[in-house]
């Protein structure tokens, strides 16, 4: 069969002639005279050549031609634009001033290079079209790279990698890169550069590859330019970071860092390539931010501490962002914030404890003289306790706001804040007492006149503080004490709010806490019912005795109420307080007791006169014959004392000893009550002889007929009695001791519970479990736990495990 001749019409084809035509045409294309050419003719010629098996030679001739053209025309044009500053720049020497000159040179050079590339690109595309047949058949068969790829590679070797001048061996590529880097450096100093020009050159770099295999990673951009760019950026930012830290303040540093980040982002979008985006950002992060952020945060005078104090939310959120870029845990920022909170908190702690000088513990003779002073100090202490809570809450609100707005509710920061709050709150020994006093104040007075929402919010804040406090059982004791006083003296602003408080506590802190508190409430409710029942009972008895007294009784279950704080135990340990009541009162009392015991047999009632109060209607006869009536509200003891004077003729008196004998009131109570009745100016219902401020044995008391008061109802307060105040150091110690005892029993209960379940546990694990179980109430001391274990072993609840080297315990049933 004849060789494949295709559509050649049997012309003999002479290679050189045909090639001549083609070569001429190619040159014309390069000279931009394509319109004079006929595509078809060229295509046909190439077609013929390929059919004649001259494909390979055609290919070689074409590449030879391209090479020649590139070398002669293009390169020379480009090299012309190379000036000495550019060469100096490329060789790495620092070129001083002449920024303008350099930029102008650089721009011209880039421009020429860009145009050359563009032209080359277009021409090659056209040539590829013409030689399409060859490509399709020859190149594919022989697996040669396409003409286009070959041409581009030639461009790379002939132009870019060729030496820029005859003397040096810096190639054009290097000059290009250094010019671009130079311009970027200028832009970083806020000069304007020609961005599109640079972009075009970068595109060129992106489109050229190192080898014929056009794989992504071997782009010239990535292999050659990008590393240099990253390196020069690193140096730049390194220096800039150092400058800024030395000269600028924290806020400026952060703002500047943000600006740079944005700038680099823009640069990647517009000038360079998005491939570099992540990498340059990480360079900035590392050099500018990472190296210096800690210093910035801790900067004197303008660092985070200053920002926190002055509520510079924007600066803080800048710092936060920057820190999170380099450190997801934001350790530096966290440290600074925590330190600040703890130091502020300690200040608050110091303020509250340092404000008051605790009174020295003197012998009892001076005790009464100093009662006045003590009272003042105690009052001050109460006030400062309340202030402490207020201060802490203010601090919390402030930092919450900062957390929300500047730290974007980051959970790491939240934990850090919580931790530091806990730290300083628990560093203060008296925090549970303070909190309870604060709530006491609030529940007594503060809730009036506020909307439900406000009240709710305030209670929530209180609960929040409670959650931070570690020694919750201490708090429970204080709260019980204060609550009992409130309930008994009817001082709460509203029972609803009290109940609200309890339910909140239950929700947040748990049941065990609120059980006893709730039963206190129940007792009060029961007592009200009981009193009503008693009244009906009495009415049913018929006998309308005008001298009958209205009795209101509150029955308190001993175990639930903080009895010890209210009641003084006698020597025999009983809680009954002796008091001889006047006959009318005694009758009423007996009747009630009878009534109650009938209802609940098997119980005993012990009357607590020191907690009660009485309303007396008193008639005062003036010297001019007029009578004035007043209603006096007095404590039970005072009532007993006053009734003594009922059967006394006007000018007779009772001496201190007599009163004591006839009422059996304990001495200190007696003194206090007599003071309030005879010494306190506004309520001088009794006249004292001598008129001194102290009550001494031998004093005589008369009923004061000339007592006057602008009010009808007069309340006789008892000196330094019932209000909930801060404890002095004695009381505090006593409370602590009691609390420790209680803790001991709780720990023992927990140990027994655990061991019963597990039967056998190693020592360390037992301790760990106990701590975990009790975490909600308080932080048990490891030594205490050990002591309790020992005591349990003595009492034969536990015994030591068999292996002496591994301490462990077994439960004994």
């Amino acid at each position: 069969m004849a060789p494949w001749q295709g559509l050649t019409n049997n012309d003999t084809v002479d290679f050189d002639v045909t090639w001549g035509i083609l070569e001429g045409a190619l040159r014309e294309i390069h000279a931009k005279n394509a319109s004079k050419l006929s595509f078809e003719e060229l295509y046909r010629n190439a077609y013929k050549l390929v059919l004649k098996k001259k494909g390979e030679e055609l290919y070689n001739r074409v590449s030879g031609l391209e090479q020649e053209l590139l070398r002669e025309n293009v390169r020379s044009r480009v090299v012309q634009m190379v000036t000495s500053p550019l060469i100096l720049g490329a060789s790495g020497e620092q070129v001083g001033g002449q920024a303008h000159q350099r930029r102008a040179d650089g721009e011209r050079f880039l421009g020429v290079l860009k145009n050359a590339y563009k032209d080359h690109d277009i021409c090659m595309k056209m040539i590829t079209d013409v030689l399409m047949y060859m490509e399709r058949t020859y190149c594919q068969d022989q697996r040669h790279p396409s003409i286009y790829a070959m041409a581009m590679a030639l461009f790379r070797t002939q132009v870019l990698r060729s030496p820029a001048t005859d003397q040096s061996d810096i190639n054009v590529m290097a000059i290009l890169e250094s010019a671009i880097l130079d311009m970027i450096a200028m832009e970083r100093k806020n000069e304007i550069i020609d961005r599109p020009l640079i972009r075009a050159c970068i595109c060129m770099l992106e489109e050229l590859y190192e080898t014929f295999q056009e794989e992504e990673s071997s782009k010239l951009y990535l292999t050659s330019f990008e590393p240099k760019f990253l390196e020069s950026s690193r140096i730049f930012y390194h220096r800039e970071g150092q400058d800024l830290v030395a000269n600028a303040d924290a806020g400026t540093f952060c703002r500047h860092a943000r600006k740079r980040l944005r700038e680099e982002d823009e640069r990647c979008q517009q000038t360079l390539s998005t491939l570099t985006d992540q990498k340059i950002k990480s360079v900035v992060d590392k050099e500018l931010i990472g190296a210096h952020i800690r210093d910035v945060i801790n900067m004197e005078g303008t660092g985070v501490k200053h920002m926190l104090d002055n509520d510079r939310l924007e600066d803080l959120s800048n710092v936060f962002d920057l820190n999170s870029r380099v450190d997801p845990k934001k350790a530096a920022l966290k440290d600074a914030v925590q330190k600040r909170i703890v130091s502020l908190g300690s200040e608050i702690n110091n303020m509250s404890s340092g404000a008051v000088v605790p009174p020295p513990n003197n012998a009892s003779e001076q005790a009464k003289k100093e009662e006045g002073e003590k009272d003042k100090n105690v009052n001050q202490q109460t006030a400062s306790a309340i202030k402490w809570v207020d201060d802490v809450l203010t601090l919390k609100t402030k930092y919450d706001r900062i957390w929300e707005e500047a730290f974007k509710k980051d959970s790491n920061m939240e934990k850090a804040l919580e931790y530091s709050f806990q730290e300083f709150i628990n560093a203060n020994q008296r925090s549970s007492e303070h909190l309870s006093l604060y709530l006491d104040e609030y529940l007594k007075k503060g809730a009036k006149g506020k909307t439900d929402l406000e009240v709710d919010a305030n209670l929530d804040k209180g609960i929040l503080l409670l959650q931070y406090i570690q020694d919750k059982d201490h708090f429970e004791n204080y709260y019980k004490k204060h609550l009992s006083k409130r309930l008994l003296q009817r001082k709460s602003a509203s029972m609803d709010i009290e109940r609200q408080m309890i339910s909140k506590m239950k929700m947040k802190v748990g049941n065990t806490f609120t059980q006893r508190l709730e039963s206190m409430f129940k007792d009060m409710a029961l007592s009200e019912d009981l009193t009503k029942q008693y009244k009906t009972h009495v009415a049913e008895l018929g006998d309308p005795d005008t001298t009958r007294i209205d009795l209101e009784a509150s029955i308190l279950t001993t175990t639930m109420w903080p009895v010890d704080s209210m009641v003084r135990r006698n020597e025999d340990g009983s809680t009954k307080t002796a008091c001889i009541y006047p006959p009318v009162v005694e009758n009423a009392r007996k009747r009630f007791e009878h009534f109650y015991l009938k209802k609940h047999s098997g119980r005993t009632l012990s009357w607590q006169p020191q907690l009660g109060s009485a309303d007396i209607r008193a008639t005062f006869t003036k010297p001019d014959g007029k009578t004035k009536r007043h209603e006096l509200n007095v404590s039970t003891y005072a009532m007993v004392i006053l009734l003594l004077f009922n059967d006394l003729p006007a000018d007779q008196c009772l001496s201190y000893e007599e009163i004591q004998a006839r009422t059996s009131i304990p001495e200190n109570e007696l003194c206090r009550n007599l003071q309030s009745l005879a010494v306190v100016p506004k309520t001088r219902i009794l006249k004292k002889d001598p008129m001194s401020k102290e009550i001494k044995p031998g004093d005589k008391f008369y009923f004061n007929e000339s007592f006057t008061s602008p009010y009808m109802k007069v309340k006789v307060g008892v000196v330094s009695n019932a209000g909930s105040k801060a404890e002095n150091s004695d009381e505090r110690r006593a409370t602590k001791r009691k609390a420790d005892e209680e803790r001991g029993t709780t720990i023992e209960a927990a140990i027994v519970r655990i061991m019963k379940q597990r039967k056998h546990l190693p020592h360390q694990q037992l301790i760990a479990e106990v701590i975990q179980q009790l975490a909600n109430r308080f932080q048990p001391d490891v030594n205490m736990i050990k002591q309790r274990i020992e005591s349990l072993m003595e009492r034969e609840y536990l015994e030591r495990g068999p292996d002496p080297s591994k301490p462990s315990y077994t439960y004994l049933a």
Binding site: L7, L37, M126
Partner: protein
């Protein structure tokens, strides 16, 4: 093998000789002329003609070869008989571009060989 055709997006517009004024880029007429070796002229719609890769590249307005300027292609290799069938095929292809299972076009057997070569030449 990657074929870079001039119809792919090129950032630069077609270049023309630096000396002459740039020819105004008027919207090309919808019809082009294909001329066979024996001088027969076939007016075909541009869209149909461009089914053939070679003709498409020839008429590419960006490359500014003479054919694209004038809208006339001299196909010296093909005689009228062949070219006629080719044109028919171009229309057939364009008409049925979207549908599948298209029945083959009718081709007289004596033209087969030449049509085959034409197809190869014209990249279609």
């Amino acid at each position: 093998m990657t074929v870079r055709s001039t119809t792919d997006s090129t950032p630069a517009a077609g270049i023309d000789s630096a000396s002459s004024s740039t020819s105004p880029m008027t919207t090309p007429s919808p019809f082009v002329t294909l001329i066979s070796s024996d001088g027969f002229e076939f007016h075909v719609r541009r869209s149909a003609a461009c089914v053939s890769g070679t003709i498409r590249r020839m008429l590419n307005t960006r490359s500014n070869f003479s054919e694209s300027v004038t809208g006339v292609c001299h196909l010296e290799n093909l005689n009228a008989m062949v070219l006629e069938k080719v044109v028919e095929y171009l229309y057939y292809n364009e008409k049925h571009k979207e549908s599948r299972d298209v029945p083959d076009m009718e081709i007289p057997s004596e033209l087969c060989l030449e049509l085959l070569m034409a197809a190869e030449y014209l990249d279609t």
